[in-house]
Point group: C2
Chain length 323, copies 2
């Protein structure tokens, strides 16, 4: 009987991981640089060392890993993970088993799927059978839990909520399509809107100066602060974000009649600035009854959603092995 | 062991039903007027008589019924069916059991969901584990089969593919929302486009005359014939239909990574006139890998999809009773 597992979130910058028990308590947590930019070999070395460090003094054999990318979960393969690595069809599970031993059991999943599982397991959607998680970060990720099971699709690629078309003739998305949710409700979407604002001079002097002196990654937070202080351009951006999210949620609710929509990720920290627009837009568009059913909630687990979701998948996979 | 069941499709105009075996062979089929416009009491009388007629000489106790509306399947209740009946929360199963006896086992489902089950069971999606059916009729209905099970949602309301928002500022839909798939890819959408064409005089004389002398319900077929003869206005309508469908399919594919999308319903008879636009739009927008996986196919069962799907649900429900 397994009583502890490790959940790991693999990011472009950091590896974050934790030792967790069956109740989802985090017994130990660690973080190191991933050095993913130095290539997959280096990342594997780091991961193997990281797993050894977390499991030190414990007898842990079940490990869940969340990665931003398209993952073939069944075979433990990274199909593609363009935001952190230049690999195609890389056999992550096999590579790690070679380093760690074949008795270590590894479950690999897309990081947004893991986050959905985390919030469903012990977060905002505890006691809910069907939910959708929307993760607003650099991009927009998603995960779908139906009938208490993660729906990953025919090839493990389901849940790309960020790439539902919201505005068919809208802004170009990183994926090549036009008007995806991601191109209106992510950190990179906010940066685009700010850039357009700079071009057509719709920013006031103060905001323009803050933006010009800022790192690219800090722009969403600057727009958040400016909006909180009443800056109308910034408030407009959050209206736009909220509206796009509401359009997507209305379609999801009509389509899947889920019990809950959970919104997480760094950009969701601006909750109070966009959620009214989201709520209004979603209720205006969706059927009354399923929309009434689908509570829209903020994620409860923050950055731990992915780690805990991966831990749960490791537990779950253990019980599947057994049977 | 049950070897025969009855599947029935309840429409505003007709009741259509069949006696079917476990292989989906139709052993007997019947059709009568539903007289739904004379109220629910009359419809129940007709249904009870219809069921007795089909089951004459057979020992059939398991019956599946498909109805256009929002159905609470678990409790056998018609939540709403505005297109055929003015009822709210009507206990259809209880009413029929009162007429037919409590030993008759009735399974009630939304008609588009039934059609999806039919195509998945023995139609275009035979041997496929996950599929979406889009039914293009007066409106646009849908059904979602995931992991070999109909996904009906928390309240049996899932699958409203026709009410995904495609163009947020688009044409007003019958549901009150703007720019739903239904307002671009249904018979009523085609009638709207023709009406707009008449208003801004973009129809040539021949087509205008045919339209003016036609019954409202025949308009989609007239536009189909005109397009087949090369009329540019009519071809444009089918382009519009195909494009809207392609946008919806791209979002569905990115979201659910299903193996197949099946398109049925009367309007889909114009297949050759819209499918290229659908295919092009869907492939342009969706991720390459899941789009490659998701075959887009025409329904194989035509009007029988719903009847056979209802029959399958009756068989399935029988085996659930047993266990």
């Amino acid at each position: 009987m397994v009583d502890k597992v490790i959940g790991i979130d693999i990011g472009g910058t950091n590896l974050r991981g934790a030792l967790a028990n069956k109740d989802g308590d985090i017994l130990k947590r660690m973080k190191i640089s991933s050095h993913a930019d130095q290539g997959i070999e280096k990342l594997i070395d780091n991961l193997a060392g990281f797993i050894k460090d977390i499991s030190e003094g414990e007898n842990v054999r079940d490990i869940g890993l969340g990665i931003p990318g398209i993952i073939d979960s069944k075979n433990g393969i990274i199909t593609q993970a363009p935001n952190i690595l230049n690999v195609h069809d890389y056999p992550l599970r096999a590579a790690l088993n070679k380093k760690l031993g074949s008795d270590i059991h590894l479950v690999i999943e897309n990081d947004s799927n893991s986050a959905a599982v985390g919030e469903w397991w012990i977060g905002a959607s505890k006691n809910v059978n069907s939910m959708i998680m929307i993760t607003m970060g650099t991009g927009v990720g998603g995960g779908i839990v139906l009938d208490d099971k993660l729906w990953t699709g025919a090839d493990g690629m389901a849940g790309e909520i960020g790439h539902m078309t919201i505005y068919p003739d809208g802004a170009k998305c990183n994926c090549g399509n036009y008007g995806c949710l991601e191109s209106y409700a992510s950190a990179s979407a906010i940066r685009r809107m700010v850039r357009e604002g700079l071009e057509n001079k719709s920013l006031n002097t103060k905001l323009r100066e803050s933006i010009r002196n800022a790192y690219l990654e800090d722009i969403p937070e600057i727009v958040m602060e400016a909006a909180s202080e009443g800056d109308s351009f910034s408030l407009g951006i959050w209206q736009e974000v909220g509206k796009a999210l509401g359009i997507a949620i209305a379609s999801l609710v009509n389509l899947l009649n889920i019990e809950m929509v959970v919104i997480g990720g760094g950009v969701s920290n601006a909750w109070d600035l966009f959620i009214d627009a989201t709520y209004e837009e979603a209720h205006r568009r969706a059927f009354r009854a399923p929309m009434k059913r689908a509570k829209i909630k903020k994620g409860l687990l923050g950055d731990d959603a992915g780690i805990l979701g991966s831990a749960h998948l490791a537990f779950k996979s253990y019980s599947e092995k057994k049977s």
